[in-house]
């Protein structure tokens, strides 16, 4: 068969109702040699080329349309690219059989069909037997699809909504399972007589059920409410959580609870429980706080350790410059002894010893301070004494100078006073002269008592010899 004939076959084989064999779900595994190299499905209506390569007819046709150059009657084989012009649709029966017997699932598996049939039979299964095949609604105005089995009894549209007699909800007619009632029955009868398939069995809340405990019949939607109040329901004692094992019917539980000792002690338990809970809570809180503190403490400890090491080194260097070498030498010895203990004893004793040594050091420092204080005051005192002595010497020298000056000045003063005296008081002049002569002879004496006695003419203050000397 040449290419044109082969391509012409396509029109004949095209068929509306055919199911797509390539999209089928293959249940059994199959040999990869049965696969068409183009579509990778088990060969469908195979065709053979001159080079002995086999393809699905449909795949081969699309390959030819793609590869054939317009002017030639040849195309390359999709597998080996051999130029080909002849196609044979007769392939070994064996190959076809092997492909046809691969098990596939019915394409309407999503609608509920569980059939698994050989691929060769799937077309007839769908055409004749599959009740789940979707077919267009017989009503021409309705555009929905119906399952085939829903339509077997009455060839009419099942998509109208009707009202459930029990729950007053709108349900599509096809969701009711159609009974075997003759088609002549009116819709109302069908609705009442029918045993519902999905809606009625599970979904309709108006359906009646029986309470297993008291045997009364109630609507399904009230069942939950009923179970809560049903007097026949067996329920545990109120104090069951405290250990009462009694399980009795609700009607008699009141009498039991009056006599049950666990019920009467219940409130006490309750109070204890709440207390326990609060205590537990508090404890957890405290535990957390404790952890936080412990963390902080260990932090402080580690920093202390570091700083102790650092200052220990510093102190050794510093002590060389200080006066009290021997004292500090001892302190350093203590420190080193302490630091050797650090690693052997635990941290607390280390801290204590550190504290102790620091205290010792502080007391030593205070001793040294008082010592220094005493020294300083001593030197100050010494200095003061010396200065005092010097001052006394200077005073003495100044005095002697003053006396000499006075002695030198006395005659002149004496003369001046005598002249004044002659002018003011001539009568006492003789007395004054003798007296001044007397004082001049006694002038080198330490007493200045003679000064004031000289009379109002000398404006000197008594007992201030130094001042007197400087004024002069």
């Amino acid at each position: 068969m040449n290419i044109q004939d082969f391509m012409a076959l396509e029109a004949d084989s095209s068929h509306d109702e055919l199911i797509d064999l390539r999209s089928l779900d293959f249940v059994s595994s199959y040999d990869s040699h049965l696969m068409c190299p183009i579509c990778h499905c088990p060969l469908i209506e195979p065709a053979r080329l001159q080079c002995d390569h086999v393809f699905c007819q449909k795949c081969l046709r699309s390959a030819i349309t793609t590869f054939r150059s317009a002017d030639t009657d040849e195309f390359p084989c999709p597998s080996c690219r051999t130029p080909t012009s002849q196609i044979s649709t007769s392939v070994p029966r064996l190959l076809i059989n092997m492909c046809e017997e691969i098990q596939v699932r019915c394409p309407f598996a999503t609608e509920g069909c569980q059939e698994v049939v050989p691929r060769g039979h799937i077309q007839s299964h769908v055409d004749k037997y599959c009740g789940y095949r979707l077919i267009p609604c017989p009503d021409e105005d309705c555009e929905k699809m119906s399952r085939k089995k829903d339509l077997q009894v009455e060839q009419r549209c099942m998509h109208s909504y009707c009202r459930c007699s029990r729950c007053e909800e709108d349900i599509m007619e096809q969701d009711y399972e159609v009974s075997n009632a003759p088609a002549l029955f009116n819709l109302e009868t069908i609705l009442i007589n029918c045993v519902s398939q999905e809606h009625d069995k599970e979904l309709c809340p108006s359906l009646e059920t029986t309470c297993v405990d008291c045997g009364t019949t109630i609507p399904q939607r009230n069942l939950k409410k009923h179970i809560e109040t049903c007097p026949e329901v067996v329920s545990p004692c109120m104090a069951s959580k405290y250990g009462c094992t009694a399980k009795i019917r609700r009607a008699e539980i009141a009498t039991h609870e009056q006599s049950c000792p666990l019920v009467s002690i219940g409130p006490y338990f309750e109070a204890q429980n709440t207390r326990l809970n609060s205590l537990e809570l508090k404890m957890r809180h405290l535990q957390q706080r404790n952890e936080i503190f412990e963390d902080g403490l260990s932090n402080i400890r580690s920093t202390l350790l570091e700083s102790a090491r650092a200052t220990g080194g510093n102190r050794g260097g510093r002590s060389a410059t200080e006066n009290d070498r021997s004292q500090h030498g001892r302190v350093d010895d203590d420190e080193s002894a302490n630091s050797s203990n650090v690693f052997s004893s635990n941290a607390t004793t280390y801290l204590l010893s550190l504290h102790e040594s620091l205290r010792e050091e502080v007391s030593q420092m205070s001793h040294a301070l008082t010592d220094l204080d005493a020294r300083a005051s001593m030197t100050i005192m010494n200095e003061c004494l010396r200065i005092k002595e010097d001052m006394a010497h200077t005073n003495a020298a100044v005095n002697s100078v003053r006396m000499q000056v006075q002695w030198l000045m006395n005659p002149r003063l004496h003369n001046g006073a005598r002249a004044g005296g002659m002018r003011t008081n001539a009568s006492t002049a003789g007395n004054d002269t003798t007296r001044s002569q007397l004082t001049s002879t006694s002038a080198p004496g330490p007493s200045n008592a003679a000064g004031p006695s000289l009379g109002p003419i000398r404006p000197r203050r008594p007992s201030d010899s130094g001042r007197e000397g400087t004024k002069l």
Binding site: R22, P37, I38, K58, S79
Partner: protein, 154 residues
Amino acid sequence: MGSQKRIAKELSELTASPPDGITVTLLDEANLYEWKVLMEGPEGSPYQGGIFQIRLVLPTEYPFKPPTVSFATKIYHPNVTNDDKGSMCLGMLRPDEWKPSSKIGAVLEFARQLLAEPMPDDAIEGRIAEQYKNDNKRYDEIAREWTRKHANKT
């Protein structure tokens, strides 16, 4: 429509049992025609240790037209263009050599084989091919360097 079924089939096969050193994902879940392939550099080659991202684009006429393979990761290789596209020159991907029976898995394995053994006689980057033939040591160094720089596992 036929192409989509075959592509989906090949994709599920490649994800179910991936070939050595090759991981296949879709670039965009809604688009069957663009694949993202992660390829580990083959052992013993200068590309060892690197992970190369490859973009594989399938034409709508697949399997009648060949897919195109391009390196999104820069690679120093005689058969891969040294530009932004990183197109790979695979003999089997040329339109006149492509066969509809070739599978994508085979294409990817062939590409990985090409990393292990470049084909300087079929080169697209003449300079690198020259170097590969005459100064193999230097080529090795540069390829290793590029692999470390661009195809690092990050």
